[in-house]
């Protein structure tokens, strides 16, 4: 089967272009439909791996630290994202706790784990065992990762409750904020160069 590494097809409209060399920060858009075709790598592997490690640390904090605390008449209550998900799991709406857990915690956690695995091998210019599977899963997970929605939800909850309760943000909310910045940066479309690490059967390319 002939393969054409020098070509790129727009995913959104099927028009074909020849790849060109890019400067750091360049973005190539389809001239027909305006979708992004590909972009230059913004970060080096070392930077990317360092940010993935930072994301892993923040992820641990998200799992254990409460995002906020409320007080009413001398009583206090704090909640982590997990406790929020578990609160959904009570009563008639219980099934929604599963997708909420996925979107808020499980998917971001899987993304960070897969990235750490893939990047630590990529640093040695090697393809990680199961690289194709990892990258495919990363592609499928991307739309379901909702850390930024969690951050907004926490902010809305703060405003909502501050009307009749004392509300104090806790460390967890900073961790959620940090992941809101890091996860899109790490899983953006410019990780596509990682596919290039896969060994491809050498065949003619016209």
């Amino acid at each position: 089967m002939n393969t054409f590494r020098e070509l790129v097809v727009c995913e959104h409209c099927d028009h074909v272009y020849r790849r060109v060399a890019l400067q750091r920060g360049d973005v190539v858009r389809c001239s027909v439909c305006g979708a992004i075709l590909y972009r230059a790598e913004k970060l080096s592997i070392d930077q990317r791996l360092a940010l993935a490690v930072a994301a892993a640390v923040l992820f641990v904090l998200v799992n254990v630290c409460p995002v906020m605390q409320i007080g009413l008449g001398g009583q206090h209550n704090a909640a982590t994202l997990w406790q929020a998900v578990l609160a959904l799991g009570q009563g008639a709406a219980a099934p929604i706790a599963l997708p909420a857990a996925a979107a808020a915690v499980i998917v971001p956690g899987l993304q960070i784990m897969l990235l750490l695995w893939v990047l630590s091998f990529a640093r040695a210019r090697r393809s990680a065992p199961g690289l194709a599977w990892c990258l495919r899963v990363l592609g499928h997970l991307r739309p379901w990762s909702m850390m930024e929605v969690c951050l907004f939800a926490a902010l809305v909850a703060i405003v909502k409750l501050s009307g009749f309760l004392q509300v104090t943000p806790e460390p967890g909310i900073w961790a959620v904020g940090g992941l809101t910045l890091l996860i899109p940066l790490l899983t953006g479309s410019d990780v596509y160069w990682l596919w290039g690490l896969l060994n491809e059967p050498e065949e003619t390319s016209a």
Partner: protein, 206 residues
């Protein structure tokens, strides 16, 4: 702009996972680089997308009619739906929060229904009308889709925090389950839609 060829016309197709461009063959094909099954277009795209959209539309009715949350304060309780929640914020003077919740829970899902419906009808009739704008609309819907999860996560956080037994407590109600399902089904509908159909103005079934 007119002379840019399409992969379809050149007998090429791109792997939708790793975006390697390969020559199209008749037999079922797998990507030589990442072994993903190759398709010229997403299979049964319009049918799947329409089915998910219809399911979301049906579920949107109970999502709005049934209460999403029950709040008890000093013995007196009230159930609130998505819209009454927005109205409460508005009357309390928090117009900004009212606007955020209204956007995430009403404006975003409704515009997704309209846009996906429009894309499905125009793609089904191979229309040449406003192709660039329709392509942009599709990318917009993909971008905003998951923000509707906001309300689900707000209910989760508030219900986890407000647990003061006799004084005050908040419980999720079944409406939030329907609402969460609306968000998931509209996301699945957008993912199943193949934006290349916008540019397929000649009938072909691959």
């Amino acid at each position: 702009m007119k002379q840019i060829p399409r992969a379809d016309e050149l007998g090429l197709l791109a792997c939708h996972a790793c975006s390697l461009v390969v020559e199209r063959a008749t037999a079922p094909m797998h990507c030589p680089r990442c072994h993903t099954r190759l398709h010229g277009r997403r299979p049964a795209s319009v049918q799947r997308s329409a089915a998910f959209l219809l399911a979301a539309l049906v579920l949107y009715i109970p999502a709005n009619l049934l209460p999403v949350m029950f709040t008890s304060r000093l013995g007196s309780g009230e159930a609130s739906t998505i819209l009454t929640g927005v109205i409460e914020f508005w009357h309390a003077g928090a117009w900004d929060i009212a606007l955020i919740i209204f956007t995430a829970s009403v404006a975003v899902p409704c515009s997704k229904f309209l846009v996906l419906g429009l894309l499905l009808v125009s793609a089904g009739t191979h229309s040449r009308w406003a192709q660039v704008e329709r392509a942009r609309l599709y990318r917009f819907v993909e971008l905003i889709g998951y923000w509707s999860m906001l309300d689900v996560l707000v209910v989760a956080i508030v219900a986890a925090l407000v647990q003061f037994h006799a004084l005050s407590y908040v419980e999720p109600r079944v409406g939030i389950l329907f609402f969460g399902m609306v968000v998931i089904f509209t996301m699945l509908s957008a993912m199943s839609f193949d934006p290349r159909l916008i540019w397929d103005t000649q009938d072909h079934d691959k």
